[in-house]
């Protein structure tokens, strides 16, 4: 074993109480960092999951119709024009089949599916509900939003005049699988569909309003024969959604809304959560570093006689410095191992405290290897940095002083 390691390890073992104290300090610090990060990232993942559970990463549709003024602005004076925006009506994406092909070629896109989405009323007896008709190809749509796994009755299969509705709607209208339901469009077209499945997607609005029908039914009902109103896209990296959306707009001329744009508040919230978590971590690291440094300074003072002797024997200064840097690194590393265990234990404990009725944790904690490695590396580096001042103090010791007065 190299000299520096041997001396460092021996000194750590020798000053057992000090070493334990400093280890406990590092462990608590690392534990807090690990626990906090795991909790926050778990919370964020679950928030994003919940958001994206009812929402495509990117939704493409035709841009809104804008009026084109025929009057020139610089025309004869006295002519004023108030150009009214026309009410938007449901229109098909032009040449959507070719669009699908060209969108598919954009890198970063996992899946896409055309849908026809529009408002309608669901009538059952005297009850009348406003719903959102979503004409989809079930196989394709499942790859965008996994409704199939959220089915509570029946199945997510739609052919001909089948429909799949949300659990809230089913309850409100007293429907079960196999029942019939009349859908009417605002222009009095109507269609009768058979309920094939009931879903609970975890979002009240969707459970209350979504009615999945076949593409063809929706096209007929919403007077969009042969057309589709939107193309929904799933991307590989959810945080690249906005940049992909921008690119899709550039390529296709369609309006592309990414989930990031429609959930700006959520993203701002997540970002400020991250920032405050970083702030806390930075202060914890500073506290840990000060703790390590102060204990090592005391240890240098206590060991000054021995350091003086080592120097008198001709030990190069750099070796003395290294002894203390290694002590700092070892304390940081060992403390981080304890801290990771502590943080993981806290996370598991915390997750077990707050559970959903079905036993799944309400606060999912996200304890990743990357987090553990990051915490360990930070703690080790902190140990080394914190040891720098004590190490240089040791290096500056004059052997004559300590030998004379030792």
């Amino acid at each position: 074993m190299p000299f520096e390691w041997m001396v460092a390890i021996r000194y750590l073992r020798e000053g057992r109480a000090q070493s334990l104290l400093i280890l406990a300090g590092v462990a608590v610090g690392v534990g807090v960092i690990v626990f906090l990060s795991a909790l926050i990232s778990g919370l964020q993942v679950s928030l994003i999951d919940r958001t994206l559970g009812t929402q495509a990463h990117i939704v493409l549709k035709r841009p809104d119709e804008m009026p084109r003024p025929l009057l020139e602005r610089d025309g004869p004076a006295g002519v004023t024009a108030h150009v009214e925006r026309p009410a938007q009506r449901l229109r098909s994406i032009l040449q959507w089949q070719q669009m699908l092909d060209s969108i598919e070629r954009v890198p970063g896109i996992l899946a896409l599916t055309p849908t026809v989405t529009g408002s309608a009323f669901a009538r059952q007896g005297t009850a009348n509900r406003a719903v959102l008709v979503r004409g989809v190809d079930p196989a394709g749509f499942r790859r965008i939003i996994d409704v199939g796994s959220k089915i509570v009755a029946g199945r997510f299969e739609i052919t001909g005049a089948d429909a799949v509705i949300g659990i809230e709607l089913a309850n409100a209208l007293g429907l079960t699988v196999g029942d019939k339901l009349r859908l009417s469009a605002p222009d009095d077209r109507s269609d009768v569909v058979t309920i094939r499945g009931i879903f609970d997607i975890g979002n009240k609005d969707a459970n209350e309003r979504w009615v999945f029908v076949s593409l063809r039914s929706a096209q007929t009902l919403l007077d969009l024969v042969g057309g589709v109103s939107t193309i929904e896209v799933k991307v590989a990296d959810i945080f690249a959604a906005e940049s992909i959306a921008v690119e899709l707009t550039a390529r296709t001329g369609l309006e592309a809304d990414s989930w990031m744009k429609t959930n700006t508040q959520l993203l701002v919230g997540l970002r400020s959560q991250n920032n405050s978590s970083y702030m806390i971590q930075v202060f914890v690291i500073i506290a840990v570093a000060l703790g390590i440094a102060s204990v090592l300074v005391v240890s240098v003072v206590q060991k000054s006689r021995e350091i003086g002797i080592l120097k008198a024997m001709g030990t190069p200064t750099r070796r003395i410095i290294r002894v203390f840097l290694i002590e700092g690194a070892l304390v940081g590393l060992a403390g981080s191992v304890l801290g990771v265990a502590l943080g993981a234990g806290l996370s598991v404990f915390f997750a077990s405290l707050a559970t959903n009725p079905d036993g799944s944790p309400m606060f999912p904690v996200n304890l990743s290897l990357a987090l553990v490695l990051r915490a360990s590396i930070i703690a080790t580096l902190t140990g080394i940095v914190a040891a720098a001042a004590p190490a240089h103090r040791a290096a500056r010791l004059d052997p004559v002083e300590v030998i004379r007065y030792g």
Binding site: M1, P2, A312, M313, P316, T317, I403, G406
Partner: protein, 232 residues
């Protein structure tokens, strides 16, 4: 000069920045290889200061110290440390062993600090030295578990572990009872005879000084006498 191990030329040492106190006044003498010398003098006469200068732990204010013909004033800090580690061994009044380590580890320490890594030869050499100082049965004891005499014997073994040309001893027996002191002194003498190591021993004990080859007496920072000892 072939027969000159250490040579001091008009060495002075001052302490203090505002009120300068001259501790050593123009010291000059030479030590030959294998010489066994006592340095005596009353407290405050500058013995320890002189010893630290000789041990290259401190630098003189004026004059030159030549060790093996090399002007030590011209060496940088690092080179001086290395040179010291390889040429000079120390035995201090308070053994100054490293309490966290065993006897063998303490004896290996100078070589370890120099080379950076322990090897088997180093270990065998250390064990051999400890056997010669009569500590064969205490090799793996923590030095804090040893008696004062035993500690000082380990310290002697450590001082000799780099096979130095010169060993400087500051009151090596000052803290020991007469019997242990005599044993340690005998060890020093034994290494001096067997290996030709030169020794310079600072002592208060005139009885010990008399058993050296040469006795240098220092009073108020000046050499007042330099004569052969009774043993010479």
């Amino acid at each position: 000069m072939a027969d000159c191990l250490l040579r001091l030329e008009d060495v002075t040492k001052d302490y203090g920045e505002h009120v300068v106190t001259r501790v050593l006044h123009g010291i000059s003498f030479t030590l030959a290889p294998g010489e066994f010398t006592a340095l005596i003098g009353p407290s405050g006469s500058g013995k320890s200061t002189l010893l630290h200068l000789l041990g290259l732990l401190d630098r003189p204010t004026g004059g030159r110290i030549l060790l093996r013909g090399c002007d030590t004033g011209e060496l940088g800090h690092r080179a001086l440390g290395r040179f010291r580690g390889r040429t000079i061994g120390f035995v201090f009044q308070f053994h100054h062993l490293l309490p966290a380590f065993t006897s063998v580890e303490n004896v290996m320490m100078p070589a370890l600090a120099d080379r950076g890594r322990a090897d088997e030869r180093m270990r065998r050499h250390a064990i051999g030295l400890l056997e010669r100082v009569g500590m064969a049965d205490r090799l793996h004891h923590r030095v804090t578990d040893l008696s004062g005499g035993q500690q000082q014997r380990v310290a002697v073994a450590r001082a000799l572990s780099m096979t130095p040309a010169l060993v400087l001893a500051d009151e090596p027996t000052g803290n020991l009872d007469t019997k242990s002191g005599d044993q340690v002194f005998a060890l020093l003498r034994q290494f001096n005879r067997e290996q030709g190591t030169a020794f310079l021993i600072v002592t208060h004990d005139h009885r010990l000084a008399a058993r050296c080859d040469r006795v240098i007496e220092l009073v108020d920072g000046r050499i007042t006498s330099d004569r052969p000892g009774a043993a010479a």
